[in-house]
């Protein structure tokens, strides 16, 4: 029983990271109707920026965090202009391919600049964790869970209770109508990309002390976050969060009870099972094309 609780905690912690990255997916999907296959690389790049600013340059942890996120905002803007914007009037297929190209480009540029050695990033706290009853609470996991919860709450407030949030929602639901009403659609999409890059970056920096900071971390996280969005129901914010948490838990239990080397395979098996038996996910309902 103790082990179960412990695994549950770890699973929710790692699942929170998937949920954050999944949120980035969902926001871009809702704004542009395309899936950004480079979403995971935002996390990877942010983690490397954090290593550079915090470890190499020696900025204070919080300052390095802020500077890294400013860098991510810039990256999100450039990404939008270079990868999405020129293709905005084409079908989804070229855009998918373009984001895949961007993913490869970002991962390998980082590799070329930095080299293949993984880096270690220390956590926010000096102490590793604490025991509460039978469960050991790793501080970094606690931080991940708390920050995720805060971001989700903030985002809810932002979209439901601010004018900018409403404009973004209007853009995601009907771009043509939004632009007829005077909403600058291109700017809204730009904001979406910047925001997605930033929350992807936060996820990457949060998870970095738990994993190693490596070139491959982006691809792994992105695939799982995508699986999370499908499990939750595509394009659904709540679904992405629930899906992310569920996937983290499934994976942690799978690794503990079934097989460690195939740990990364569970996500894909769950994904394929969902795709076959319940493609609309837990919450989602996909509307069929109108004749």
């Amino acid at each position: 029983m103790d082990l179960v609780l412990q695994l549950l905690f770890t699973g929710i912690g790692i699942g929170s990271v998937y949920a954050l990255v999944a949120l980035g997916f969902v926001l871009i999907f809702r704004a542009t109707n395309v899936v950004n296959f480079a979403q995971g690389e935002f996390s990877m790049v942010a983690a490397f920026l954090m290593v550079v600013f915090s470890v190499k340059i020696g900025l204070p942890y919080w300052m390095a965090f802020v500077v890294a996120l400013i860098g991510m905002a810039g990256l999100g803007a450039v990404f939008n202009l270079a990868v999405y914007y020129p293709l905005r009037h084409r079908t989804y297929l070229p855009v998918i391919i373009s984001t895949i190209g961007a993913s490869i480009f970002m991962a390998n540029t980082t590799l070329a600049i930095h080299g293949p050695e993984p880096e270690v990033l220390s956590g926010w706290f000096d102490t590793p964790g604490f025991m509460l009853g039978p469960v050991y609470f790793d501080n970094q996991y606690v931080l991940i869970i708390v920050v995720t919860a805060l971001l989700v709450a903030l985002q809810y407030w932002f979209f439901e209770h601010t004018l900018l949030g409403k404009k973004l929602q209007a853009t995601s639901q009907d771009k043509e109508m939004a632009s007829l009403l005077g909403i600058p659609v291109a700017v809204m999409i730009m904001i979406t990309f910047i925001y997605s890059a930033v929350i992807g970056g936060i996820a990457g920096i949060l998870v970095a002390p738990v994993l190693f900071v490596s070139i491959g971390m982006g691809a792994t996280i992105a695939l799982k976050a995508f699986a999370a969005t499908i499990i939750g129901g595509f394009g659904d914010v709540t679904g992405a969060i629930i899906g992310g948490l569920a996937l983290g838990v499934i994976e942690t239990f799978g690794a503990a009870y079934i097989s460690v080397p195939y740990k990364d395979g569970f996500a894909f098996l769950v994904l394929i099972a969902f795709l076959i038996f319940r493609p609309q996910g837990i919450f989602g309902e996909r509307v069929a094309e109108k004749a």
């Binding site: 390998n108 540029t109 070329a112 004749a291």
Partner: protein
């Protein structure tokens, strides 16, 4: 893929040069001769082998992505399945090379069909992710299932068949394989299957309604793609005698994808150009490989640049240049008149609909509608906006599942059938917002219609083309048969859509607002066309808002309002019915009088 499918019709869509095939054979033979005769270093041999075997796998993407429009990010996995089958089969189990190649290809085909099967309910992004997942699982298994796959060490000392043991001869053999498979893929485009794939790519919904089994078409495309991947991989293993998991990773799948995009996704020539360039260029730029990552970073950037600036690839671009010099070819005319059987002499009722309902959540879009359509003549379904007309049509043609009720067409219950099976049963339809396959010619569009299972043209390509021309002649567009439909005016696109439905010789023709968006002279043409169709004995069910058109062509009218039938009967009677007048013009407190 059987060769009988690749026979082409006389008067084919793309006028082909007579010396084309012999020249192609000579070219392949010359390449083989060069491969054998010209002395070369081991390095050049390896590069050539790699390019040839990769090109075979890239041909698979020409089919699945180029023809069928489905994304496949797991081609390296299929390549790997073929390679490991040839490697492990020979070294671990002592099985003959050819048997191993066959097994590897079959395994790849099986998994390809399985991936294709996931398209039953998914498309686009989902499919991309499913194929990536499959790719990752294959890589994980190759690395971790050490007792069987040797894990990261890979498989060494993979032999070749005795008579191919010389590297140059093996290369010549691979070139021959590439030449043959490339030829087949080239011809696939203009076969029934190839047209079906392109129709699915351009407009899936219309493909289903035109009688194409969309699902089976996609599964076939995936299986064919995987087969080519498997063959390429098997030959690759024989050529290099060593395979390891990292050769078949996701990054390699992206490399395959880049190759097909760079060369041009529409043609096997593009696949070969793209593969050749992307194998040679990195070799010329070998110094880039001294910095890990730089080379793939350039790859990634190249993908974006190609997609943005060269959407049709190198071959697509060259073709565009060459087409300028192409002489205009006068379309062959047909003397045959379009035969319409109208389903023959069956019972008096063509369509019998009982208690048909379609609910979207709480909304009763169609509510217990009865509809009886008699053979011959034109039956109109009218009603104000939102009255459920198009929903009724969509339920009839199978795009929506009926919530309740039954549909009997020509004595056959079609209530539970998918769209393509209803078309097989004799339904033809057009769409309110035109759904043609925009990258195909008018003739190709109509040929797919003529290929409806059970249509009189049968399987003979010549008869199909003949019938399609006759259908185009019927709507007076025969002269433009070989033009791509996206250049047609709105009214002409409508006419092509009607011709497509007519070519299948349906029992009942459903027309969804054919008059919408037409100007007054086009409307007159439409009215005459409908009368000519009707005169040949084909039954029509038409939806339209234009009451002049409806009253001129229809003998029977059914009126819907709020999803319910409010009137039904002979045109003149129905149009005088007070409920109908009220529904259309509104009713004041004393209007009932």
């Amino acid at each position: 893929m059987s060769t009988s499918e690749t026979t082409t019709a006389p008067g084919d869509i793309r006028p082909r040069l007579r010396w084309g095939v012999p020249a192609y054979v000579l070219l392949v033979l010359a390449a083989m001769a060069i491969a054998i005769v010209v002395p070369k270093t081991g390095y050049v041999l390896n590069i050539s082998l790699q390019a040839t075997t990769y090109a075979i796998a890239v041909l698979g993407l020409t089919i699945v992505l180029g023809l069928c429009g489905q994304i496949n990010l797991a081609q390296a996995a299929f390549f790997g399945l073929g390679a490991y089958a040839v490697g492990l089969g020979q070294t671990h189990y002592g099985v003959n090379f050819w048997v191993c190649l066959l097994i590897g290809t079959c395994v790849a085909a099986g998994f390809g069909a399985l991936l294709g099967a996931s398209t039953l309910r998914l498309g686009g992004h989902y499919l991309a992710m499913v194929t990536i997942s499959f790719q990752q699982i294959v890589t994980l298994v190759l690395i971790n299932w050490i007792p069987v796959t040797n894990g990261p060490d890979g498989v060494r000392a993979i032999p070749r068949p005795g008579f191919l043991s010389d590297g140059s001869i093996y290369l010549a053999f691979c070139i021959a394989a590439l030449g043959t498979l490339g030829f087949l893929v080239w011809h696939l485009r203009d076969t029934r299957l190839g047209r079906a794939m392109r129709a699915v790519r351009d407009n899936e919904l219309a493909a289903g309604v035109a009688g194409i089994d969309v699902y089976r078409t996609k599964v076939t495309a995936f299986a064919l793609s995987a087969i080519l991947g498997g063959i390429g991989g098997g030959l690759f293993a024989g050529g290099f005698s060593y395979v390891s998991p990292d050769q078949f990773s996701f990054a390699e799948s992206v490399v395959f994808l880049t190759m097909v995009l760079l060369g041009g996704v529409a043609s096997p020539i593009g696949a070969v150009i793209g593969t050749g360039l992307l194998i040679l260029i990195p070799e010329w730029l070998r110094f880039l490989k001294s910095i890990p990552g730089l080379y793939l970073a350039i790859y990634g950037a190249a993908v974006i640049l190609i997609v943005v600036f060269m959407p049709d690839g190198i071959w697509g671009y060259l073709r565009g240049l060459l087409d300028r010099f192409k002489r205009a070819v006068l379309p062959t005319r047909t003397s045959a008149a379009l035969q319409l059987s109208g389903g023959g002499q069956g019972s008096e009722t063509v369509l019998e609909v009982r208690g048909l309902s379609k609910h979207f959540g709480g909304l009763k879009a169609v509510d217990e509608v009865d509809l009886t359509i008699r053979r011959g003549g034109v039956h109109a379904l009218i009603g104000p906006n939102g009255s459920g007309k198009t929903t009724t049509l969509n339920v009839l043609s199978g795009l929506y599942k009926a919530t309740a009720g039954s549909i009997v067409l020509n004595g056959q219950d079609i209530t539970g059938l998918p769209p393509h099976a209803r078309t097989r049963a004799g339904l033809g339809r057009t769409f309110q917002n035109i759904r043609l396959w925009r990258s195909m010619t008018a003739l190709e569009n109509v040929m797919v219609g003529a290929e409806r299972p059970g249509s009189p043209a049968g399987n003979d390509p010549a008869a199909l083309a003949e019938r399609a021309r006759a259908a185009l002649a019927f709507v007076e567009l025969e002269d433009r048969a070989d033009e791509v439909v996206s250049s047609f005016s709105y009214g002409h696109q409508r006419a092509v859509e009607i011709a497509r439905a007519l070519a299948g010789d349906p029992v009942l023709l459903l027309l969804d607002e054919p008059g919408a968006g037409l100007n007054s002279s086009e409307k007159v043409e439409l009215r005459d066309l409908l009368k000519r169709i009707s005169a040949r004995g084909l039954t029509i069910l038409i939806i339209d808002h234009d009451m002049t058109l409806v009253s001129e062509v229809a003998q029977h009218i059914t009126v819907l309002n709020f999803g319910r039938r409010i009137a039904d009967g002979y045109s003149a009677d129905v149009l005088k019915h007070p409920d109908v007048i009220a529904a259309y013009l509104g009713t004041g407190p004393d209007a009932a009088a």
